[in-house]
């Protein structure tokens, strides 16, 4: 218990830092907003924009250089709009920039109208819309009236996902090959490094939370979820191409993983689990009308917390590192590197720990929920 308490404490401090960084960004955002009405003499470094650009998904993989003339990998766009349409995202990034007026606030805003095969579609804040009569209606920063198209593009995060899966497969298959070739011997090389993690998930995560008799069925799921999160977390910490995408800090990814845990929990739940929800033992019948909704909500809040925890922790880590590096660019003086680089390095090293910790926590809490669902009456 002391162990997990320490973990939660750490998490709490992370969330606090996350919030403080968010406030920090808001300050910058508002100051930028204040200046935008006046003519700007020297372009300010847009910390908020830069950070948001890095932690969000994109249809390109920007490597270096300025936004429009830098080196970028244009990723394929796959749209489902009366059939599958596939083309390069360059048709958007080198498309026509249209400036329109926000219908509510009256501010000027920009969207990109696609050219070539992308004609008839618009990209606004990395989201794709269908143009109606060559126009996009924007109301209070949101698109109205235009239908959002089903976007199955290989975005930055999807590519990162593929690479993560590829690395897991390559590394794990080499470990599996070692065992296939050598049988039950002492591990060597990569197997020696990864076996403790595998055994940890099996014993400390699965066996101790699910129980001696039932844990075996869930070990592959927990191992997959642990290594999926762990590898992608680590990949996200690498600043250049194989990594850098904020995959595990993306709500879609953590949502899917949390839903997986929810489904596994629900499908493996037994009578005892539902009895605890609909007729909690020891609770007076009069309280059940209150207890049942609470317990029902509890089914959902547990995976919801999983989703938010992973998303917030990973995103916060990326934001902190980027914000610390931004110190140099805000002050436009390389000397600030003396402060910013050691701090960024410290946080990056801490992020290595967090990468492991979050993967472990996700797997452990999943195992805990599954354990609660399969627990027998005693």
């Amino acid at each position: 218990m002391v162990h997990s308490k320490a973990l939660f404490k750490l998490q709490k401090s992370f969330i606090l830092t996350f919030l403080s960084i968010l406030c920090f960004n808001m300050v910058f955002a508002s100051s930028n907003g204040g200046h935008s009405t006046e003519p700007v003499k020297e372009k300010e470094f847009d910390v908020n924009g830069m950070i948001m650009h890095h932690i969000k998904d994109a249809h390109e993989w920007h490597l270096w250089g300025s936004e429009h003339n830098g080196t970028t990998i244009y990723l394929p766009i796959i749209l489902i709009d009366g059939g599958i349409k596939t083309f390069s995202s360059a048709y958007f990034y080198h498309g026509k920039i249209v400036t329109i007026k926000d219908e509510k606030t009256g501010d000027l805003t920009e969207f990109i109208s696609g050219v070539g095969p992308a004609k008839g579609y618009a990209m606004y804040h990395e989201k794709l819309y269908k143009l109606s009569n060559g126009n996009l209606t924007i109301n209070d920063g949101h698109v109205h009236g235009n239908s959002k198209v089903l976007d199955f593009s290989i975005t930055k995060n999807v590519l990162s996902l593929f690479m993560g899966a590829f690395f897991i497969l390559v590394i794990m298959s080499s470990v599996a090959r070692f065992y296939k070739k050598n049988g039950a011997v002492a591990p060597k090389g990569l197997a020696k490094f990864l076996e403790p993690l595998i055994v940890m998930v099996r014993d400390d995560v699965a066996k101790s939370n699910i129980g001696e008799h039932k844990y075996k069925k869930y070990v592959p799921y927990l191992l997959t979820i642990f290594f999926f999160i762990f590898f992608n977390n680590l990949l996200g910490l690498i600043p250049i191409l194989p990594g850098g995408a904020n995959l595990t800090g993306n709500i879609s990814v953590t949502l899917f993983l949390a839903v997986c845990t929810l489904l596994v929990t629900l499908f493996s739940s037994n009578k005892n689990y539902w009895k605890h929800i609909f007729a909690t033992p020891g609770v007076p019948v009069a309280l059940l009308p209150i207890m049942i909704p609470i317990e029902m909500v509890g089914i959902l809040t547990k995976p919801f917390a999983l989703m938010i925890r992973l998303f917030a922790n990973m995103t916060a880590g990326h934001i902190i590192v980027l914000a610390l590096v931004s110190i140099i660019f805000i002050n436009k003086n390389v000397a600030w590197g003396a402060l910013s680089v050691p701090m960024a390095l410290f946080i990056s090293v801490l992020e290595l720990l967090v990468a492991f910790l979050q993967a472990y926590l996700f797997a452990m809490l999943s195992a805990l929920f599954i354990g609660g669902a399969v627990e027998e009456h005693h």
């Binding site: 592959p220 997959t224 709500i251």
Partner: protein
């Protein structure tokens, strides 16, 4: 706001990749790894148990050996003791019989000596008698060569007899 809104495309790809990964990893990777690890753990447990068992066996064997040694030692001691006793007894017996024999011999020797002394005494007596007779004869012969002498002798003898 779009930071916390899930996107369908990424959700779809995550699902696809994760399900595929789960399937492939479970079938081709986790199963062989886990079975190998389990097998090895089984092997180690068995080996440890065997080692413990062997150790226990060794202990009992050692105890047995110790017992055997003790018994052997006790037996040896008993044998040695017996032998000593026998030897002592034999010596005692020998001493007794030797004494008896010695006594017998001594007795025999004494008897012989006594017999021989008696014989010698008897012999001596005989010799002395013979000598006496011879001397007496000689004396008698010498004294009876003249009358006077015969007379003296007779007188003397008569004197002796008288005296007696």
């Amino acid at each position: 706001m779009d930071l916390i809104l899930p996107e369908f495309g990424l959700l779809f790809w995550t699902g696809l990749v994760f399900i595929c990964l789960l399937f492939v990893l479970t079938k081709f990777i986790w199963k062989p790894i886990l079975s190998s690890v389990n097998e090895r753990e089984q092997k180690i447990t068995e080996a440890l148990e065997l080692a413990d068992k062997t150790k226990a066996e060794m202990k009992t064997m050692q105890a047995e050996n110790q017992n055997l040694l003790k018994e052997a030692r006790a037996e040896r001691d008993a044998i040695v003791k017996d032998a000593k006793e026998i030897a002592t007894r034999m010596v005692e017996d020998a001493k007794v019989s030797a004494k008896l024999e010695a006594e017998k011999i001594a007795e025999a020797a004494r008897l012989t000596v006594a017999a021989e002394r008696n014989e010698a005494i008897a012999d001596l007596k005989n010799q002395v008698a013979i000598f006496s007779i011879e001397i007496a004869e000689k004396i008698v012969r010498a004294d009876l060569t003249s009358d006077e002498k015969q007379k003296a002798l007779a007188e003397k003898m008569a004197g002796d007899i008288n005296l007696n």
